[in-house]
Symmetry: C2
Subunit: 403 residues, 2 copies
């Protein structure tokens, strides 16, 4: 398996586009994206666990209940959530794009992201769809841009892998930035592949993978109302269809995990206002669950996040976050180190501070990718979580988001 | 019952002091506080639920296990937590002050607040205690200053109430600011009263009261390692001792609640970097528990907090926080209003936005005390939680706390 150029159009048979249709005021910002496969795809998705759900979630759930889809329409600038007519508008989005593409409206995945609680006007979408469809092509980049909100960089990746001697490809795009928190999907991610996978195995792969990827990523602790991860598999690679948990399935899972970990890391690194990717790796836990809770508690702590912004080796805050987050913690067995491209520095052994050079620690923490390494010293399980620092810009961006 | 001048020295028989002994570099900042009763007191306390606990917690627990205490010693500038010799130092603090006061070391409550994981040097404390004791007097203010960390204002209150025809008084001081989050005590609070209360009823009163006060207060979601609320009752008011759950106990509870709600509101309003007190009142819940979870979820949301900083009536974030925080929520029954001294404005009815004047909403949200009023429309229970906005200064303060 190797990482290749491109994004969601790397797999055979997929085209994409993204345009500015007018939902957003800024005309240089694309706000409507489309992904299209020239044949019907196995489809799977996971959704936010927030009980306040965007209307598109309900419509998408219904549309892929049969395990198949052929297109994805997504707008930014408005979440179409907490609106009386939200479901109606989401359905209209599906119908308009289905008509133009000559596919069934029930084979369209629909998603929205942006402000909650403002009516989504269908007019610019209706007027934009002809140009959106006409421009379909090798335009993963445009689609990636069209789903961005406060994201500062587009997030896309593609990989190549082999199943049955056939080259398969998989690509993904993501939007993240704010309201990013486990569980679940807490961002918009669209993945395409030409690998042939039965719908139930596609869902199994996705539902399993997110436990260690998107569910371990947090920017601000707010689980969004709208988010979903979807994957479309159109089978054009020509491999024997994956319909059971065999070696081919494992190879597929590995490719999927490469795509999702890349997107998680990039979502965290581009968290609202973030200047740093913060990765917490926890080892020595008594269970997988304990390891995951520990890693998430550290990356979610506002005080740890602010310390990372200040490149301050304030490991006491890591201990504090472990102490309130993890049940059955034995603080006297906990070790903590900080690590980056500049090296690694142990700061706490057996729950107590050890002498260290503040100068070297600072140099390590001034890097753009920081690892917080925690050993609980109590077992064999490990987990990794991804987050970012808490900065002035997070406050600026969210202090006046709507106006 | 009425609010009176003063703090922890308002009740008969209590003296206090606070000095700069040298734990902190800034010589104008008091860093060592003492509270003393001239007779032994019934004593009760509640402690942080963080599994990483400061050494003083262990020593205090042991010292008041018999239900009695006579003095409180507290330093700021160092939390005496995650240190190999922490318990030894905390015990020495008790011994040094006990010797000077001619009380038993096992009747001293000890507390520390500040940086985690740095050895607490006993030298300045040892050298400071003589002056600290000699200066004991009507100095609640000095004691309140001595326990402050990043607090910008001291927090003290006193009330007068009647039990059995006798005037009783109660006063409290608090330090809050950062690492403030339920559960539990998540701040340092010392309360004194001359009311006569048996130790077990004092503990019952405190343990019950905090469920709706300190456990409903959050600044940044980080539950501290060191915090405690203690109350000393020396009986000098001369009332018949409260030793059962009768009308006198209820009157005592009411006085206690007045003191604790005042301190909670002031801790929230003076949260690190805060410019506003944010109070969330939830009504119409199916249970007390649901109401409390809903109120806490709203005041803990980084996005809600940032919107309050920007005086932005972004009610969608309130809905979002309810949706991920509250089980069994019916979003279609939720109403939300914003309220302040400038008026009240409904922004969401039955889970959907209603037209409102952004101008009036802004005027309401520009005030220093904001209420977010939520009705879940599903039952009879209610709860209130206190928090603050998320600001640039929170990031500045915590980005470089140690250096």
């Amino acid at each position: 398996m190797k990482i290749i150029e491109g994004g969601i159009c790397a797999a055979q048979g997929f085209k994409a586009n993204g345009i500015h249709c007018g939902i957003r005021k800024n005309k240089s910002k694309r706000d409507l994206s489309l992904i299209y496969s020239d044949v019907k795809c196995s489809a799977a998705a996971v959704y936010t666990t927030n009980l306040v759900k965007g209307a598109p979630i309900a419509v998408t759930k219904q549309n892929i209940a049969d395990g198949y889809a052929q297109a994805v329409i997504c707008n930014s600038g408005n979440a179409n959530t907490c609106n009386a007519n939200g479901v109606e508008i989401a359905q209209q989005m599906c119908e308009l794009v289905a008509e133009k593409l000559s596919v069934s409206a029930s084979d369209v995945v629909v998603a929205s992201t942006g402000v909650i609680g403002e009516i989504l006007d269908i007019t610019p979408i209706r007027e934009g769809i002809p140009a959106l469809v006409e421009g379909l092509g090798d335009n993963s980049e445009y689609a990636a841009e069209g789903i961005m909100t406060t994201d500062t960089v587009k997030k896309e990746i593609a990989v190549s892998f082999e199943i049955d001697g056939k080259e398969c490809r998989m690509g993904g795009i993501a939007k993240g930035s704010g309201m990013i928190h486990p569980n679940m999907a807490t961002m918009l991610v669209f993945i395409t592949t030409d690998c042939a996978v039965a719908p139930e195995m596609l869902q199994k792969a996705l539902s399993s993978d997110i436990q260690d990827t998107f569910n371990m990523t947090s920017v601000d602790g707010d689980t969004s109302t709208n988010d979903m991860v979807t994957i479309l598999a159109n089978g054009k690679a020509g491999n024997t269809i994956i319909d059971k948990d065999d070696d081919n399935f494992k190879a597929f899972m590995k490719a999927l995990n490469t795509v999702t970990v890349y997107l998680c890391r990039n979502i965290a690194a581009d968290g609202e206002g973030a200047t740093k990717l913060v990765e917490c790796r926890v080892e020595g836990a008594t269970s997988k669950e304990q390891a995951k809770i520990a890693a998430k508690s550290v990356i979610c702590s506002s005080l740890v996040k602010a310390a990372m912004f200040g490149s301050d080796a304030n490991w006491g805050r890591v201990l504090c976050a472990l102490g309130y987050g993890v049940k059955d913690l034995d603080p006297t067995k906990v070790d903590v180190s900080f690590k980056s491209a500049k090296g690694e520095i142990p700061v706490c052994v057996n729950g107590a501070g050890v002498p260290f050079s503040e100068e070297i620690a600072k140099e390590i923490l001034l890097e753009k990718e920081i690892e917080i390494l925690v050993s609980l010293g109590d077992g064999e399980y490990s987990a990794t979580a991804w987050g970012c620092d808490l900065t002035y810009d997070y406050v600026r961006i969210n202090g006046d988001y709507r106006t």
